[in-house]
């Protein structure tokens, strides 16, 4: 059973999607470490170090994702956890925006996969399974 860390980054309190993601990952057979809402970059990293998780699923709904995620990939690399899969999804930026721009922006911050608003979490889990097989 692979371990996945999940949480909602920054000062974001949107809790509903987070609870469903936990449920869906468990249904799919993962071991889930749910940090809940209002999670800092460092808390995500600490949890990965502590639990030896293979992937992190970050959610950001409230629009400050762009400010909250800066340097996240580097932080993981510097700590020696560059191999951990970083996924992010939610309403990542402020306002209705062309998603391809958003994807580029967040990939540049070190995320391996970036998902548009209202993405089906089960599809995200399918991608995760594939990526975990590859890595």
């Amino acid at each position: 059973m692979e371990t996945v860390v999940i949480g909602v980054i920054g000062a974001d309190v949107h809790a509903v999607g987070n609870r469903i993601i936990e449920y869906a990952l468990k249904q799919a057979g993962f071991n889930v470490v749910n940090l809940g809402v209002m999670v800092s970059q460092q808390e995500f990293l600490d949890a990965v170090i502590e639990t030896n998780a293979k992937a992190v699923i970050v959610s950001s709904l409230y629009g400050h994702g762009e400010l909250d995620c800066r340097g996240m990939g580097d932080r993981f690399i510097e700590a020696g956890y560059g191999h951990v899969l970083l996924y992010i999804g939610g309403n990542l930026v402020i306002g209705k925006t062309d998603f391809s721009e958003v994807e580029v922006k967040f990939k540049a911050m070190g995320f391996h996969r970036v998902f548009p608003p209202n993405s089906d979490i089960n599809e995200g889990i399918e991608r995760l399974k594939e990526d975990l097989l590859k890595s």
Binding site: V37, M38, Y62, G63, L67, N91, I94, K96, N118
Partner: protein, 479 residues
């Protein structure tokens, strides 16, 4: 606890104002002079009173961007093009968490990149004078809308800045909006805000207060949000607030929604009267669907219109409006105005036919009344009629329990689900102080649905219900 003594309040004030440099520009006497200069047409309490009297449902958007000029332009558009009767200033999430340094980064970056990188208006950083420039530039009343657990400094600055209404409360801005905040502290901090409003009231300035009704916006049964709203109304009245708007977020079943707004007003008055606050002006606010929205804009218009229609038929004093961009992000000025225009079309078309009633509505009102009484009587008993203590102990004991709340002080035992007709019922009661008869009403209604769907009531059903509206339905039936 009773009304905070003036000296205690003033001593605390001195500390509050120090939290950020803009605090030093708040001077109460001068602020009261400024507030006195605001005409009735721009004062929340007066405009609400008139609407209540004329049985009109006013419309109000949410809106806030990082920079003052852009924010004013946005509000003007919503006023002129969207025909908003009341205007908001939605505060950004950093300010809500008193992270003024990060808010400043957001402001600076927004100036640099030329677009708003904050999800609201950082009023504390901008300070009193810039707040007044908003009020001076507009024709309708202005309200602060946020989600701030400790909103003392924000209140000082915005009330001095000419806002005439202030949303929030020690419970409703804690439970859905935080993780580790102590309820004791947030309630105390909000007693400060209420005391400040009470102070203005003593000086002849009526500020409208609005507990945040929808809480998590996600399948919250009316009795739970009503209990919170009434506790916060009592807390506010205790500190001298005389104009209170209690709120409720649309659940989607019209009979339940209409019953909810009507009973909310009756119940709030009942409890205020019981504790001697019979001079409080009580009005209601109906929030258009607060859960996940459909991505498709045409579908979103349908949801918006349904909320508008229900608000009017329920006789709510105002309705908070969503935009067709809801599922994506903070709306553009145009999208926001469009939500208003759809809503206004319906409030105007329906205002002359808002005397609907039916046995179904009566039955829902009876049910909500019984449920809310069950909760509040148990809660008030626990705190020996000290409202703050009652609320704290009530949450501790799980007597009030808000579904899907992030706050750790919330029991998180209650699980709601829709019944066969789409009304929100309760399937896990946790520690809600309901009689067996009352619980059986819920169980029977949920069984009816479960049988029709050939499955048990389960968390999967709850998830299906959470997604349903965004997928174009109300009840999350299995496919």
């Amino acid at each position: 606890m009773a009304k905070i003594a003036l000296e205690v309040f003033l001593a605390e004030r001195a500390e509050v104002l120090k939290a950020w440099p803009t605090g030093k520009d708040v001077h109460l006497e001068e602020a009261i002079e400024y507030q006195k200069s605001i005409p009735d047409s721009k004062r929340f309490s007066s405009v609400l009173k008139k609407a209540d009297h004329e049985r009109e449902t006013l419309i109000q958007p949410r809106a806030g961007v990082a920079l003052p000029q852009e924010h004013l332009a946005l509000l003007k558009h919503l006023q002129d093009e969207g025909k908003a009767d009341l205007l908001p200033t939605t505060i950004d999430s950093y300010t809500r968490h008193n992270r003024y340094v990060e808010a400043q980064v957001g402001i600076d970056e927004s100036i640099k990149t030329g677009k708003s990188l904050l999800n609201g208006f950082p009023a504390v950083n901008h300070g009193v004078a810039l707040c007044r420039s908003l009020n001076d530039g507009l024709k309708v009343p202005l309200q602060v809308r946020h989600g701030t657990p400790d909103a003392r400094l924000l209140a000082e600055i915005t009330l001095a800045g000419g806002f005439t209404s202030y949303e929030g409360g020690g419970i409703s801005y804690n439970i859905p909006y935080g993780k580790n905040y102590s309820l004791e502290k947030t309630i105390r901090d909000w007693q400060y805000v209420d005391r400040l409003v009470g102070y203005y009231e003593e000086q002849g300035i009526r500020i409208n207060r609005e507990p945040f009704g929808p809480l998590t916006g996600t399948l919250v049964p009316p009795c739970i949000s009503h209990s919170v709203a009434i506790l916060e109304a009592l807390l506010a009245a205790e500190q001298g607030c005389k104009c209170i708007t209690v709120g409720y977020g649309q659940c989607g079943n019209q009979a339940q929604d209409i019953a909810a707004i009507r009973s909310l007003k009756l119940l709030t008055k009942e409890y205020l009267d019981r504790f001697g606050y019979n001079d409080v002006q009580v009005t209601t606010v109906f929030h258009q669907w607060m859960g996940g929205f459909p991505q498709d804009e045409a579908q979103a218009y349908g949801v918006i219109a349904w909320g508008a229609a229900t608000a009017v038929l329920a006789g709510a004093t105002k309705v908070i409006v969503k935009s067709p961009h809801e599922a994506f992000g903070v709306p553009t000025a145009e999208a926001n105005a469009n939500g208003l225009k759809t809503t206004k079309q319906l409030t105007q078309m329906l205002k002359d036919q808002n005397n609907v009633d039916s046995p179904l509505i009566q039955e829902e009102m009876r049910l909500i009344g019984e449920e809310t009484h069950s909760i509040l009587e148990a809660v008030l008993k626990l705190g020996e009629n000290d409202f703050a203590l009652s609320a704290i102990r009530g949450f501790e004991a799980g007597l009030i329990d808000v579904p899907f709340a992030p706050a750790q002080c919330n029991a998180n035992q209650v699980l709601p689900a829709r019944d066969h007709h789409g009304a929100v019922r309760i399937y896990e009661f946790g520690y809600l102080p309901f009689s067996e008869e009352l619980k059986n009403v819920h169980r029977d209604k949920l069984d009816e649905r479960a049988q029709a769907e050939g499955r048990d009531v389960s968390f999967q059903m709850v998830i299906d219900d959470i997604y349903a509206v965004s997928k174009g339905r109300l009840v999350g039936r299995p496919r």
